[in-house]
């Protein structure tokens, strides 16, 4: 059984997901000791801009560049937000695109700092994903997300997930693709307010359907460890000796931040602009 990690990186005009993927892959290799493949519509950018780093990846799987109409708000702390094109559409192709039998898929803004996720391969389950996530902001509860909407299903985080190829996971990804292709319908059925297609929501819906429209089931199981995240209103200040320093926005007092630090903990950093600055400071 082959094992590995795949990352998706579809650049827009301002966010260099490929560079994030390089940084992310280096962390994966350091702590999980796994090959990392990149699925990207920006393969040319990789070879042109980072020729010496192409070898970071086990395989580069090039996908067609599609015209993207949906735009996402990208914040950089409490400053001005930008609306940029957001291509998150090929996550449901992970089953067909992965070169591995057992795969961990992760966002490029998920930074691995320990080997917890290696335990996926020791368990006998075919699909693992986190439902609960913990916001690192010590006073950040107002921005926590538990459900896809107030009255709807619990939200699973497609930020990181593990799957083993089999009939059930194949069906899951086919269903996921169906949900993506009929997003307007499923969004309405599940009473989701945001118009944009979001993988977290699509995964949550697919899991709900696979479980016979019920919650409190034993599939899928949670990934080993815990999903910690900082929001795009927070800033990444530093990353030294596997220790992150964040400035977390105070939701009650605009423009003020409180410090949070983590050591040897994997973190999903949603402020991609701040992450870019950090990666640049790391010499990539």
């Amino acid at each position: 059984m082959t094992k590995g990690v795949i990352l998706f990186a579809n650049n827009n005009d301002e966010i260099d997901y490929v560079r994030q993927a390089i940084f992310c892959a280096k962390q994966v290799q350091k702590y999980l000791k796994l090959p990392v493949s990149l699925v990207t519509d920006s393969a040319e950018h990789l070879t042109n801009k980072y020729p010496k780093l192409v070898d970071t990846f086990d395989q580069v799987i090039s996908t067609e560049k599609i015209q993207v109409f949906q735009r996402k708000t990208f914040r950089d702390g409490m400053g001005k937000a930008k609306k940029l094109p957001w291509n998150n559409f090929n996550r449901s192709d992970a089953y067909n695109l992965t070169p591995y039998d057992e795969t961990i898929v992760m966002d490029t803004d998920y930074i691995v700092c320990n080997d917890n996720l290696s335990n996926c391969f020791k368990l006998n389950d075919d699909f693992m994903i986190w439902k609960d996530a913990f916001y690192l902001n010590p006073i950040g509860e107002p921005w926590e997300i538990r459900n896809v909407s107030d009255v709807s299903i619990e939200m699973y985080w497609a930020t990181v997930f593990y799957f083993k190829k089999n009939k059930k996971t194949k069906t899951f990804f086919e269903l996921l693709k169906y949900i993506k292709d009929n997003w307007a319908y499923y969004r309405w059925i599940y009473q989701i307010a945001p118009v944009n297609f979001r993988n977290d929501f699509a995964f949550s819906i697919a899991i709900h359907i696979m479980n016979g429209f019920e919650e409190n089931t034993n599939w899928p199981i949670k990934l080993p460890g815990t999903l910690y995240y900082t929001y795009d209103r927070d800033l990444v200040e530093d990353f030294v000796d596997n220790r992150f320093t964040f400035l977390c926005a105070n939701p009650n007092e605009k423009g003020t931040y409180s410090i949070a630090t983590t050591k040897d903990i994997n973190v999903h950093i949603m402020n991609k602009i701040a992450l870019e600055r950090l990666i640049e400071s790391q010499g990539i």
């Binding site: 107030d150 009255v151 709807s152 299903i153 059925i189 599940y190 009473q191 016979g212 429209f213 019920e214």
Partner: protein
Amino acid sequence: MIEKGFLIYANNTWKEDYLKQAYALALSIKLYNSDAHITVVTNTEPDAKYSKVFDNVIVKKTKPNSLLNAEERINAFDVSPYLKTIVMDADVLVTENLNSWWKYLKNYMIYYASSVRTYRDKIGDSTAYRKTFVQNELPNLYNTFSYFEKSEEAALFYRMQRVVIENWQTFYKKYTPKKQQKWCSMDVSSAITSKLLCNEEQITSKDSFINVVHLKPKQQGWSFRYQKASTAVTLNFSENNFYIGNFKQNGIIHYVENNFLSDYLITQLEEANATVS
């Protein structure tokens, strides 16, 4: 005497068509429990369509003399033609076969549901609607679903309940001094009866699988304060399953708001029943 059956009270008021609700409930019972025997006690002569689904219709021309017409239900024990009776509110739907429920209820002479679930199958926080019970330390009983077996024990309970209901103002003043309800409620009256007989442990179990999906809005765990649950979620029926807000339902649903019971839903239940029979 018939061994077991369902008893539904459906006394129409100027405001609510409880007989229509009872009809929908009976359709849902028969869909999953084709051998079920159902009695409806009503103040309105049902038409031929409604009569068809009930095995026994008892028409009693009563005039409601309280907000919830609770007084009428004190006769359930005497009126029931069954040795073992499940009594349900009319605004309830059954979503599954209840054989395992009957089996479980064999352990009891009287039983009341005492916990509620949300439509998302989470334990519901009923305290918002149960202040009288909490503050006066009353057993948290729901008449939405109750059961009795004709027995000395049950006869004593219902005799006592009759005394409480016929003198509800006196009993409520003494046993519910805090957050006292201003109308005669079957739930409060049954709880006082149980407290007087010290039999809570013999007539309910909080950990039992017998509970009710209760659709009152404040106990659904929503952040937004919906005044009506029917403005937040819909109740649908598809391929012999009930769904609320796209969640498949199990057990029994106490939908409370009449808006949930659409004519289309009733038609679907009729069609599903026609297929079964």
